[in-house]
């Protein structure tokens, strides 16, 4: 008979099981699966289960995390070099810190040992492999579990052990199994370790019971289906039994696999589409370009002299008044720029909420700016409440940027003949600009163009392939603004070349031998498809080039100078702000 308050002793699993059997035979289940209610402190909330499921889903779709190949760690150690030395230094620092923890803290031996294993494993993960974002998320997840779940649910030494175990399984175990040709069904998606740990250490609830039951059914059907394919069992069952059972479980297994496959394929395809679209089409590479430095000033629209109209002190209920000058710096006076001006304010303590202001009596003010025009703008925010405000002026306008890239072409045989005599073709033809870079106008966004290194070599024989490419990028050029939307990109290439593998993006507007150029524009459908995506700083397109007319491209000189040109019309958002403090009315 046990008397007195509940015991607070902790026993490792085996000892605890024995203790449980001794104390009360019915406790053995609790003892082996978790902690006796009497000895347990706090268990975690169900949100840990959801977080684990989310992590598993993220691995499946976005992160693609599959642990760390321990062979890479060994390779890094054997290869040595600077990264290895940095890793060693980092690990030494960790060891020193660990030594402080051991010598200056009051911890049990078991606690120290388990914690040391977890820390050293973390340090190795951080330094001895190619660490990436997915690894960081998994590492952080494990440590959060340790801090917020394990430490609350069990004594420290066991929490430390759990951390070490979860790190080992998550980062190394699956890759070790895969390396040694382990069973294909033992992978992180079929055995989601975080999910199991979370489920085990969350508080008891009806939902948890349902979840546990589902997990048991799914895994039993999986295991059964797998076992029934093994020959060892065949002798103990009749043929009919075998066929029926096998068909039943195989059907269950097939259904599960089908469900997994279809879900994964669907999710992967949509995620890939999204990632490809955003990375390749809407983001992309910003190609090197030189801004037309000799242009007198920036082209486009400028918000100048934005500030308070006076130095009066604003009190609660006052109208905040901000003024500025809108300057039009268009290319010429014929194409006016329509500028939509808005203003609004945000309070620092309530920065998510926006208070719209009025510009010269309207919420949105449209101004047509010509060459060298300027317009006074005035913003009012009425009935201001107390606090620190940031008042914004925004000018939204469409603009067209232009850019070009010079390059050279020459007959391939002629080039080979010169090079075989060790003659530098550029020197031979007195070409001083040997590596031209693209040039762009000095507008809100700059155009960059890239093609193969000059000179482009044109084969005489049509059977010889000509391979080249052209890329165009549109990059934000101003600090105070944002490239909002791209309406069109027009690419003009030398006559004699054509764009290939870009039929879904560009269409040929015209090819004119008289002008010596072929022009392409973005397809309407492609613009629509990408219209609503936000562009941060750069958008680029790249296409292959095909040779269509050798003579036109080369002209009648030993080498030819040719230009790639591009222009893009886009929507640009220019923003300027000013800080204002509204005081309490006294």
């Amino acid at each position: 008979m046990v008397t007195g308050p509940p015991r607070r002793e902790y026993f490792p699993t085996a000892r605890r099981a024995m203790q449980g059997v001794r104390d009360a035979p019915g406790n053995i289940v609790n003892a082996t699966l978790g902690y006796d209610v009497g000895t347990m402190t706090h268990k975690g909330g169900m949100y840990w289960v959801w977080l684990s499921i989310f992590l598993c889903f993220a691995d499946w779709t976005l992160l693609g995390f599959n642990g760390i190949d321990f062979r890479n760690v060994l390779l890094k150690i054997t290869n040595g070099g600077l990264p290895f030395i940095i890793g060693v230094i980092f690990n030494l620092i960790v060891l020193v810190l660990l030594a402080f923890y051991i010598f200056f803290g009051k911890h049990s031996k078991e606690e120290i040992l388990n914690f040391s294993i977890a820390v050293i494993m973390t340090s190795l993960i951080l330094t001895m492999v190619n660490f990436n974002g997915a690894s960081l998320i998994h590492l952080a997840f494990a440590w959060f579990m340790w801090h917020l779940l394990f430490k609350e649910a069990m004594p420290k030494q066991d929490a430390n052990l759990m951390l070490a175990v979860i790190l080992f399984i998550d980062f190394f175990a699956f890759s070790i199994i895969a390396t040694f040709n382990g069973a294909s069904f033992v992978n992180r998606l079929i055995i989601p370790v975080h999910f199991f740990f979370s489920l085990n250490y969350t508080r008891e609830s009806a939902f948890k019971s349902v979840l546990v039951a589902i997990v048991i059914i799914v895994y039993l059907s999986l295991v059964s289906a797998t076992l029934y394919t093994m020959d060892d069992f065949t002798e103990q069952l009749t043929n009919n039994d075998k066929i029926t059972a096998k068909q039943t479980f195989m059907k269950a297994y097939d259904n599960l696999v089908l469900l997994f496959t279809q879900t994964k394929a669907g999710v992967t395809a949509s995620v890939n589409d999204y990632v490809n679209d955003t990375k390749n089409d809407l983001q992309g590479t910003s190609y090197t370009t030189e801004i037309d430095a000799k242009s007198k000033q920036d082209l486009g629209v400028e918000l100048a002299d934005v500030g308070r109209d006076d130095l009066t002190r604003y009190n609660t209920g006052d109208t905040i008044r901000i003024t500025g000058i809108l300057e039009g710096r268009n290319i010429d006076d014929f194409d006016k720029i329509d500028v939509f001006v808005t203003c609004y304010g945000r309070r620092s303590i309530d920065s998510k909420n926006r208070t719209n202001g009025t510009v010269l009596g309207k919420e949105v003010y449209k101004i047509s700016m010509g060459l060298y025009e300027e317009q006074f703008i005035d913003c009012e925010i009425k009935n201001a409440s107390r606090g620190d405000w940031t008042i914004y002026f925004e000018a939204l306008f469409n603009f067209t940027s232009e850019g070009y890239l010079k390059t050279y072409y020459m007959d391939k045989d002629r080039y080979i003949s010169l090079r075989s005599q060790d003659i530098d073709v550029f020197e031979n033809y007195d070409i001083r600009d040997t590596r031209p870079v693209s040039k762009s106008i000095n507008g809100p966004a700059k155009i960059g163009i890239v093609t193969g290194n000059p000179p482009g070599l044109i084969p005489y024989n049509k059977s010889e392939t000509f391979t080249s490419y052209v890329g165009v990028s549109l990059t934000n050029n101003w600090n105070g603004g944002k490239l909002n939307k791209v309406w069109d990109i027009k690419l003009t290439i030398p006559y004699g070349l054509e764009l290939t593998n870009c039929n879904d993006r560009f269409y040929n507007e015209y090819s004119d031998s008289g002008l010596g150029e072929s022009s392409y524009s973005l397809m309407e459908g492609y613009i629509q498809k990408t219209f609503n995506y936000t562009i941060d700083d750069v958008r680029s397109e790249k296409c292959s080039l095909n040779l269509t007319d050798r003579e036109e491209l080369l002209g009648s000189s030993p080498f030819s100078t040719r230009y790639f040109k591009a222009e893009s019309t886009y929507e640009y958002l220019l923003k300027k702000s000013v800080a204002v403090t509204v005081h309490d009315q006294k």
């Binding site: 242009s295 710096r329 007195d430 040039k439 002209g555 100078t561």
Partner: protein
């Protein structure tokens, strides 16, 4: 009396004329300089006439491009072509992006008139500025010129039956030795001759190693190919860096009397240099009789080649729209 006076006046006039004549014939200390026209590495060069074209121009401006081709070398320019290449969209000619003319007036120098010859060229060009958002554009004008040229080499070569001094003789007239040269008035010339007198059965068979060098930076090609080299057509590699030896004369020997390697009709210049070894044919009736004393005789070598070079000039095109901003 009148007649006497007339005679006196006549004698006086003659005396004055004689005095003047004698005074005019007084000696001058200046030396008469004999110019060796077949020396150095002169070639055809292009010099732009100042401000043609100007270094800056505006859009839609009509320009004149002027330059002179100067023949600093010693030989006549044949089959010469000047080809101008504009800047597509920015700088062009009446004929389009390129314009071509022949070089006709660059004659050879002579000892009577060793002056450089010149030919002037004027081309009409027009500018455009299609990029309205830019302030300026650097347009490059290229001038490619191709022509046939020749080289004449003349020097005294020693014929010594005892080239290795097996029978030492006092006061030998000459010694067989390698001679170096810095060119014969063209960009491609003979830079050294290494003679060798091969003694066979008391007969002397002269052998010459001729070292040819491209002293300039231009490109060598076979004669008669100027239109191809200044055009865009593919070049037959056989025509590249190839020269043809037309004449070798030594004593009474001519080209036909020598066996040369490589073939004199296709001497290929590699890394700007080539060697040709020519030996008097075995058993030739023109072999030299072995004599006791050394003597010198003239060696004359002539060859032809095509030569091509390019020059460029940058014109800054200014966008008028930008000026008023």
């Amino acid at each position: 009396m009148i007649k006497n006076n007339q005679n006196k006046f006549l004698y006086l006039t003659i005396l004055i004329l004689l005095f003047g004549l004698i005074s005019g014939c007084s000696s001058d200390d200046r030396e008469i300089v004999v110019v060796d026209i077949h020396s150095g590495n002169g070639k055809v060069e292009i010099e732009f006439i100042e401000n043609l074209p100007p270094s800056k121009a505006y859009a839609s401006e009509e320009l004149q491009i002027g330059f002179k081709a100067i023949n600093y070398g010693a030989y006549e320019v044949k089959n010469g072509i000047i080809s101008l290449v504009g800047d597509p969209g920015y700088l062009f000619f009446e004929d389009g992006l390129t314009s071509e003319e022949e070089i006709t007036d660059l004659t050879a120098k002579s000892n009577y008139d060793p002056r450089d010859t010149e030919q002037f060229f004027i081309f009409d060009a027009k500018t455009a500025f299609p990029d309205k958002g830019f302030s300026e554009h650097e347009s490059v004008l290229y001038v490619n010129y191709c022509y046939d040229y020749e080289n004449v080499f003349n020097d005294q070569i020693c014929v010594d039956p005892d080239q290795y001094n097996l029978k030492p003789v006092d006061n030998k007239v000459c010694q067989v030795s390698e001679s170096s040269y810095s060119g014969q008035g063209g960009p491609v010339g003979i830079s050294s001759i290494t003679p060798k007198m091969i003694l066979r059965d008391d007969d002397i068979y002269p052998q010459f190693r001729i070292h040819i060098r491209n002293f300039g930076t231009g490109q060598i090609f076979s004669t008669g190919q100027s239109d191809i080299f200044c055009g865009s057509e593919s070049i037959n590699r056989d025509f590249m860096n190839s020269i043809k030896i037309d004449k070798i004369e030594f004593s009474d020997m001519t080209l036909e009397d020598f066996d040369c390697f490589p073939d004199i009709n296709d001497v290929v210049i590699r890394d700007r240099e080539a060697d040709i070894i020519c030996t008097l044919k075995e058993g030739s009736s023109k072999r030299l009789r072995s004599i006791d004393e050394a003597y010198t005789t003239n060696l004359n070598i002539e060859f032809k080649y095509g030569y091509s070079e390019s020059v460029s000039k940058t014109i800054t095109l200014i966008n008028q729209n930008d000026m008023i901003r």
